[in-house]
């Protein structure tokens, strides 16, 4: 009896307290309509106060990158808040550099709108939209890599630059999450977005994408990314990739040769073993067609007994060092694991290249 009474009275008390808090929340956390000004009057919006900046931007179809879904862990949703954002919160300081804090960069998912707010975001991000697509094909490239070809439904076309990426919406038990994948199809196929996806054991995004079948629907936002291909045809393009880092590089190479058929370009691709090699024949075909395009694949692991390989061996930065002459004007695009990028950057700097763009994963 006493137990029942205890439980009932404590539960009653808790319910009463919760009710009191809910009423208070309704009355207090109501900041009315606030002005949200983007890029000094370019896009004035009116939003309900009390929500986070990220949620307000998404509600108004401004898709800034965010991989963690507003938990404050990925640090992708950085925007410049000129006024009205309040001071930097302890949850943000871990993900912002000192320089960023000085120049008013904030995490949009942590900034709560309490008053009129003035923000600045890169022009590119205003063109980002949510696309609905249908899976056209899903092809195995290697034992853990798939090439997934998406045909756009709405909007029917995407305008992107080579090297950019999209954020695929994947379902998860805690609601949809977004995962970034580079576009591997060239920019002259505006109704197609092709992705190269490596299956990460336990990964939400890659498991979802690997299980897709032709005819399934996929949503993504994009395009994101700041890489700009050097338009000067005398500048040599160097692409260095590892694993699914080939995706943006494939896009760059096809787009490049569509526009400048005799431009010089080197592709260096690092794999572990022969079972990781893909797209090699496709690129060799391309190299036959365009004599200024050079393909170098290198295997880093010892060759197994049943493996046949006539290309380079060792880590990819050794091949970069071996093939490139110093003193040529170059632009480099690197995409792969951090250690590879570090090693290749060092080699390229020795060769006198400073225009290096990289995408780490």
């Amino acid at each position: 009896m006493i137990y029942l009474l205890s439980v009932v009275s404590f539960a009653g008390l808790t319910v009463a307290l919760a009710g009191m808090l809910m009423i208070a929340e309704r009355l207090l956390i109501n900041y009315g309509i606030c002005k949200l000004d983007i890029n000094a009057g370019e896009k004035p919006l009116e939003v309900d106060g009390g929500q986070t900046l990220l949620a307000s931007l998404y509600a108004n179809e401004i898709f800034i990158p965010s991989a963690c879904g507003g938990k404050g862990t990925c640090g992708h949703c950085k925007v410049t808040v000129i006024a009205g954002g309040g001071p930097v919160l302890p949850t943000e300081t871990l993900l912002l550099t000192r320089k960023e804090i000085r120049s008013n960069v904030r995490l949009a998912c942590q900034v709560k709108i309490r008053e009129d707010i003035y923000i600045r975001i890169p022009e590119d991000l205003l063109n980002i939209r949510m696309y609905t697509t249908t899976v056209e094909s899903s092809v195995d490239l290697t034992y853990d890599m798939k090439e997934i070809r998406l045909r756009l439904n709405d909007p029917p076309n995407i305008s992107h630059r080579p090297g950019q990426y999209v954020q695929v919406q994947a379902p998860s038990p805690d609601g949809p999450v977004f995962r970034a994948y580079s576009i591997s199809s060239p920019v002259y196929e505006p109704d197609i977005v092709q992705l190269v996806v490596r299956l990460v054991p336990g990964g939400i995004g890659s498991t979802y994408l690997h299980n897709l079948k032709p005819g399934d629907y996929v949503n993504f936002t994009g395009p994101f990314g700041e890489f700009l291909l050097n338009p000067d045809p005398s500048v040599e393009i160097i692409c260095v990739g590892g694993g699914c880092g080939i995706a943006p590089i494939r896009n760059i190479i096809y787009t490049l040769y569509e526009q400048w058929p005799d431009r010089a370009c080197w592709l260096f691709f690092g794999c572990r073993a022969t079972r990781d090699v893909f797209y090699l024949e496709e690129f060799e075909e391309l190299a036959k067609k365009y004599p200024n395009f050079h393909v170098v694949y290198a295997l880093s692991d010892q060759l197994g007994e049943d493996e046949k390989w006539d290309g380079e061996t060792g880590f990819i930065h050794l091949s970069v060092d071996k093939y490139l002459e110093p003193g040529v004007r170059r632009q480099a695009f690197l995409c792969g694991p951090p250690l590879m990028i570090e090693a290749v950057t060092r080699v390229l700097k020795e060769k006198g290249t400073s225009d290096i763009f990289y995408d780490e994963f």
Binding site: L5, S9, L13, A18, M20, L21, L28, P87
Partner: protein, 196 residues
């Protein structure tokens, strides 16, 4: 029921029986938030407000719900629940009406929930068998006493910023030592009034 007059309880709670300097309750936010006088005044006010309100609420709940139903053993969990809910409420108020103070207090505002001075005051009120009016006097006094102590320490620490403190004592250690000295100074009030 305690016979002491409410006025005496009030004064005693501030000076002779200061909840912080004699019972050493609520030390964590006391040390962490006493860097600046401004912040400490804010936190002191918030704690005082929460303390007096929760003492009243807990008094009512204890004497009109727990005692009649014979559920006195639930007092700890009930008091904590009431305090937690009330702190949430205060947090909403501060966020709405003084965003500056809200950001200055940061994490210490929700941490008032686990400020033991607040639970301590509610428990003292029960142990010492205060009446309703006496409880209000005690809650207010304990809150003001806590606020007074943190503001005094903040003032001292602000001055100490320019003193030449030996390296191992810089920061929290010297604050603890100063708190001890402050507590001894408060012993000078002993004999002025007294409660058990």
């Amino acid at each position: 029921m305690s016979e002491t007059s409410t006025w005496v309880i009030f004064i005693a709670a501030i000076f002779t029986n200061n909840i912080l300097l004699t019972n050493f309750l609520g030390m964590c936010s006391f040390i962490a938030c006493s860097g600046q006088i401004r912040t400490s005044i804010g936190l002191g006010t918030a704690v005082t407000f929460v303390l007096i309100m929760t003492t009243i609420m807990n008094y009512v709940i204890y004497h009109f719900v727990l005692v009649p139903l014979g559920l006195v053993h639930l007092q700890f969990i009930v008091f904590i629940a009431v305090i937690a809910a009330f702190v949430q409420l205060v947090e909403m108020f501060v966020e709405r009406f003084s965003p500056r103070l809200y950001f200055a207090l940061g994490i210490f505002l929700p941490l008032i929930t686990v400020n033991c001075a607040i639970l301590g005051a509610s428990l003292f009120m029960i142990i010492r068998e205060y009446s309703f009016i006496q409880s209000i006097g005690f809650g207010l006094g304990a809150g003001i006493g806590w606020a007074l102590a943190i503001v005094l320490l903040a003032g001292l620490r602000q001055k100490m910023r320019y003193s030449n403190i030996p390296e191992p004592f810089q920061g929290v250690p010297i604050a603890m030592v100063v708190t001890g000295v402050l507590a001894m100074a408060f012993m000078g009030f002993a004999g002025m009034v007294s409660i058990q």
